[in-house]
């Protein structure tokens, strides 16, 4: 019951256009005042309950995203904000995307819109927070990377681009 009242949010941008990001940030402002529901933006994924993802998943952010997801202690929930993480949105078919989000990590709440309105995002976060109680608690230490290790890892992109096989010759 306490989980629904204090969802701490870690917010990650995986290639979003900023439109959703500014609306996610806007939930903190006095008009939407997310703190009245205990929604707090935290800087470390270790403190978070809810992971908010904006943007289609670019190839370079994919492994960061899974690392961040692993660092969040159980129980945790994932909110996909905007059309991009839900369905790749307008960027669908781009060679540098691996999304949608639910092919990378399990998603609990989808907030649609391009971008969704702040109150919808807030409501999505609260819905996810209410789902936390029914989630697996999870005990015991699983080895995870430190936050700075996850961040300073060198990016190595595997040349497994899907588009190399099926992209037509410049579309005409």
């Amino acid at each position: 019951m306490f989980r629904a009242r204090s969802p701490w949010v870690y917010f990650i941008n995986t290639g979003s256009c900023n439109g959703c990001d500014i609306e996610v940030l806007a939930i903190q402002n006095p008009r939407y005042s997310a703190e009245r529901y205990g929604v707090l933006r935290v800087g470390s994924p270790r403190h978070a309950d809810v992971l908010v993802v904006t943007g289609p998943i670019t190839k370079r952010m994919e492994d960061r995203l899974t690392m961040i997801y692993d660092q969040i202690p159980n129980p945790k929930a994932v909110v996909a904000v905007g059309s991009c993480p839900t369905s790749n949105g307008i960027f669908d078919g781009g060679y540098s995307l691996t999304g949608p989000l639910d092919t990378v990590i399990p998603v609990d709440v989808y907030v649609m819109g391009c971008p969704p309105r702040p109150l919808n995002i807030l409501s999505g976060i609260r819905t996810a927070a209410k789902m936390l109680d029914s989630k697996r608690k999870g005990r015991g230490a699983r080895p995870t990377a430190r936050f700075d290790e996850a961040m300073s890892k060198e990016t190595v992109i595997d040349p497994k681009f899907r588009s190399s096989d099926n992209v037509p010759e410049a579309g005409r």
Binding site: I22, L25, A26, I157, S163, V167
Partner: protein, 389 residues
Amino acid sequence: MAEVNDRGFAKLKVPIGPSHPALEEPARFLFEVEGEKVIDVDYEIGYNHRSIERLCQERPFSKIVYLVERICGICSHAHPLNHVERVEDIADIEVPERAKYIRTIYAELERIHSHMLWAGIAGEEIGYHSLFMYTWREREKVMDLFEMLSGNRVMHGCNKIGGVKWNISDEQARSALGVLSYLDTAADKITKSVLKDSSIAERGKGVGCLSKEDAIRLGAVGPNARASGVAEDTRVMCKYAAYGDFDLEPQIAKDGDVVAQALVRLAELKQSIRLTEELIANLPDGPIQVEYGEIPPGRSVGRVEAPRGELIHYTETNGTRFFERIKIRAPTLANIPSYVPKFLGCQVADIPIIAASIDPCFSCSDRVTVIKDGKRKIVSAQELKTGRI
């Protein structure tokens, strides 16, 4: 982990990003710090690369306006504005005066909301949450205005080739003027608090300085360059849309530090509010869009002053429904090199505010940076065309 140098300071490698509370967007900075002092910095962008330029070649051009709108959610008017102006330039489409004015109104409102957003984010970066709360509360008024005019807070979908989609009724114009006069007093209050507050002065004065020489040498654009005294404003130089009808002065400051950046942006905020009021008052009558026929083959390059600086679009058509090539040079890409002189020798505490000081927009900038096997690779034009990179 930490090696100790001869003066007894531990050298630490501090990664900031790609996901970090100070950065709204993925980009990675690797700082080498000695105690609290930054002695080296390396940056890496490209986390946001969404293959937009390639998608622009794959889709019919009626869809591209929406795609370029989603390059960046904060400059969601500057990109499509530049794009449609390029196509109109190629096809020699004469846009009605009213459409030009409406485009300019949106562009100036976007500058207002973007600069207020920046002031709030800058407050957040130096740990001044009240400034963030105040500016973002007032910014909601601009978002409401956008919603009233176009139906969406962020993605306005206002531009189309040959004009604009949403007209402005008299009633809307009247209530917009009311909001603008409210914003004018809010802008005054923000300026006053930035100027008077000693804790902002403590965190901003002399932090992240960029000299005028460096700004020119490193090709800084927009408010970042103007804060260093470079009087360049694309609105004044290019006179695109309806800017030719108005006299604008580039707002400049001398010091190039964070306070100067803030003052330039706040002066532009005031200037934009006044300009929007003038635009609405002088809104000409007439149609808002014209029909157009085939787009002939051709090429056009043009500049637009986005809130972050000079935005360059290069557009090439080939007579079909598809573009031959669209190349976008976003202002942040030009501003990123100026990070290096700003960061060197600064304190760890100043990293977030310096990072925010150029008002970075990495989603605009991440066009192509291919990193394979951890090494930078040069991409040939043929590879780019076929997508095999």
